[in-house]
């Protein structure tokens, strides 16, 4: 079985993140890393590989700037078998539509039965790429899986919604996104770290994929960020004073309105 995991190189969410003058994210001034949410995707792929105990191969795929090899490398350290990095100056500023186009064209060149993505990136946070990929590849897509099992050609996926938990069955090939509830990502072991140096990483450009540079990048984006502002500082919050016994209801209503319960 062949699994492709799509991983994004993102600015470290714990560092000070900034925007460039053109309102794209500053990817040079801050340390980047493999998006934490994509670590869950790598973990699920590796768990499937561990359980299959056959010649299942996990390929990590990243579309991103030069440094994005760091994200690929981290996934290889965790245990993925090989990496593909699509890098091209023309890709800078791409929106989700263009990113999904590049990813899809790359995936077509890699043997794949299952494509696994994280639930969203920790920078853009849109969470639409997995659905776009399934559309572009013309295969079923299941998003936000929290428990995954593969038996033969069948994939069983549990989705935990606000109101219900669904179990969905799909057949390969399939695109899947997994949540941060799917299982804690492993730390790379030292042996994994040392082995990763010898694992192959291919670098592809847009022309390797036959993608026209004009169809991606900031110029082709369907949406444009006009301006950005820092999030205003936290406000004091709301204090519920219970004078007539209505406090509990007020609290419950608040939590329900925020979908905490």
């Amino acid at each position: 079985m062949n699994i492709v995991v799509c991983v994004k190189y993102v600015p470290d969410a714990t560092a000070d993140r900034k925007f460039e003058d053109d309102n794209t994210v500053d990817r040079v001034g801050v340390d980047g890393l493999l998006s934490e949410l994509d670590e869950y995707a790598v973990e699920q792929a590796l768990q499937i590989k561990d359980k299959q105990a056959d010649d299942t191969e996990v390929t990590v795929l990243s579309v991103g700037p030069e440094n994005a090899t760091d994200a690929v490398r981290k996934a290889l350290q965790m245990g993925a078998d090989k990496g593909v990095h699509v890098v091209d100056d023309a890709i800078a500023g791409s929106d989700a539509l263009a990113t999904s186009l590049v990813l899809a064209e790359a995936i077509k060149k890699i043997p794949h039965d299952l494509v696994v993505c994280g639930m969203a990136s920790t920078d853009g946070g849109m969470g639409v790429v997995p659905a776009m990929l399934s559309e572009r590849l013309g295969v079923p897509g299941v998003t936000l899986g929290s428990e995954i099992s593969v038996e033969g050609e069948t994939v069983k996926i549990r989705r935990d919604g606000d109101a219900s938990t669904d179990t969905i069955e799909g057949s390969l090939p399939l695109v899947l996104s997994v949540t941060d509830q799917s299982g804690e990502a492993r730390y790379p072991s030292f042996k994994g770290i040392m082995a990763a140096k010898k694992k192959p990483v291919e670098t592809w450009s847009l022309s390797d994929l036959g993608v026209d540079a004009g169809s991606v990048g900031a110029g082709a984006a369907w949406s444009v960020v006009e301006s950005t502002d820092a999030r205003p500082p936290r406000t004091a919050g709301e204090i519920v004073t219970d004078e007539d016994g209505s406090g509990a209801k007020a609290l419950v209503d608040f939590l329900a309105s925020k979908k905490f319960i």
């Binding site: 730390y187 790379p188 072991s189 030292f190 042996k191 994994g192 770290i193 040392m194 140096k197």
Partner: protein
């Protein structure tokens, strides 16, 4: 723009990609799994040693710088960096790893028979089996040559009698490497802790290394076959070669405790308002912070230099003494100075300062006291031994 102390020295630029990846992995592990639990472990004087050993084994920390037998086979520098990150959590955690990897596993790896290595090393690398190292005795610490534990021949067997003291991991160990006097000088023995006559009562009421198991080893007619003897170790150089390994890790490790203190203190001093401005904005505070940063950075440069020498196969024991003496001494000074900046808050377990400072009292004493390292360096400089 505020910089961290070690960023000021840009010591990261002295590390390669693999070393950084190993360092980052241990740091993440310590931040996520260890730091939140430490205050409770410390207060209770108990650690989940078995679980910790398994988790550390899964990462590949145990015996990481050894080759073969399931060990990761990293550079010595990478091992040092891992010790640093572990000790940024707690010296007790690093002690567990030092004793397992550099004392017990190294003794087997360097001095053991092929059967001994096959039997123990793979299980010790995964953390399934825990090891301890019994050299010190109640009356013999800095002068182990006087040890009273004896191994005497009885037919084809050996029978061990004696008491070892201050033995890290003792009560949780599956195997003890025990050094004993024989007619043929000091020899090492691999003692499964289930052997009749062996017991390891835990030492209580410690004020230091509370998140570490410290024990007495009692050997009361412990009968072992000759195959339990470490064939390649003869004389005190056997255990001393292991100590040099563990001391190397401490050169880096102590800096981890110091870094954690200094970073905690920088954050605290920035937040704490006193006389209407942050504590960090006072000249006296800044002088302390600058001096401590200097010592931390110098210690790190020394550690990395010694690490490179070790990786090149050129590190001499007296050079290890330079590093251990300096870095532990400066680390404890930093921990104490940081405590002054936190005032009363610094004495609690809510902050790591006093915990690190107390731990470093042990680190100052074990693996060669500061005085012993001064004597080693003194002998190297003058050619005169002043030990006795």
């Amino acid at each position: 723009m505020a910089q961290t102390p070690l960023a000021l020295f840009d010591t990261d630029s002295l590390l390669d990609e693999e070393e950084r990846a190993i360092r980052d992995t241990v740091r993440q592990f310590v931040d996520a799994k260890i730091k939140p639990e430490l205050a409770d472990w410390y207060e209770a004087g108990r650690i989940p040693a078995r679980d910790l050993a398994r988790e550390l084994g899964a990462l590949g920390v145990l015996g990481m710088h050894l080759d073969g037998y399931g060990c990761a086979g990293t550079t010595a520098t990478a091992y040092g960096l891992a010790c640093l990150e572990l000790e940024a959590g707690d010296s007790g955690l690093r002690s567990l790893v030092s004793v397992q990897g550099s004392l017990a596993m190294f003794a087997l790896w360097k001095h053991g028979s092929e059967e001994q290595k096959q039997e123990w090393l793979p299980r010790m690398a995964t953390g399934e089996a825990i090891g301890c190292f019994g050299l010190t005795e109640p009356d013999f610490g800095s002068n182990p040559a006087g040890m009273r534990t004896r191994a005497r021949r009885d037919g084809d067997d050996w029978v061990l009698d004696g008491t070892k003291m201050w033995i890290t991991n003792g009560s949780v160990a599956d195997v003890a490497v025990v050094w004993a006097q024989t007619d043929d000088g000091v020899r090492g023995f691999v003692v499964p802790t289930g052997t009749p006559g062996f017991s390891a009562p835990e030492i209580k009421h410690k004020m230091s290394l509370r998140a570490s198991v410290t024990s007495e080893l009692v050997l009361d007619g412990v009968r072992l076959p000759d195959s339990a003897r470490l064939p390649e170790a003869r004389g005190l150089s056997g255990p001393l070669s292991c100590l040099t390994e563990a001391r190397f890790g401490i050169i880096f490790g102590a800096l981890g405790a110091a870094r954690d203190c200094l970073e905690t203190t920088l954050a605290y001093a920035a937040e704490r308002e006193i006389f209407d401005k942050p504590l960090a904005a006072f000249q006296l505070t800044q002088a302390k912070l600058a001096d401590m940063t200097l010592e931390l950075g110098k210690g790190m440069l020394l550690a990395l230099h010694l690490g490179r020498l070790k990786d090149a196969g050129r590190l001499r024991p007296e050079q290890v003494s330079l590093g251990k003496l300096n870095n532990v001494r400066e680390a404890i000074a930093i921990a104490r100075e940081c405590r002054t900046i936190l005032g009363a808050a610094g004495i609690t377990l809510e902050y790591p300062l006093m915990r690190h400072a107390n731990n470093l009292e042990s680190v100052l004493t074990y693996e060669g006291t500061s005085e012993v390292h001064q004597l080693v360096i003194g002998q190297a400089l003058t050619g005169q031994g002043a030990f006795r």
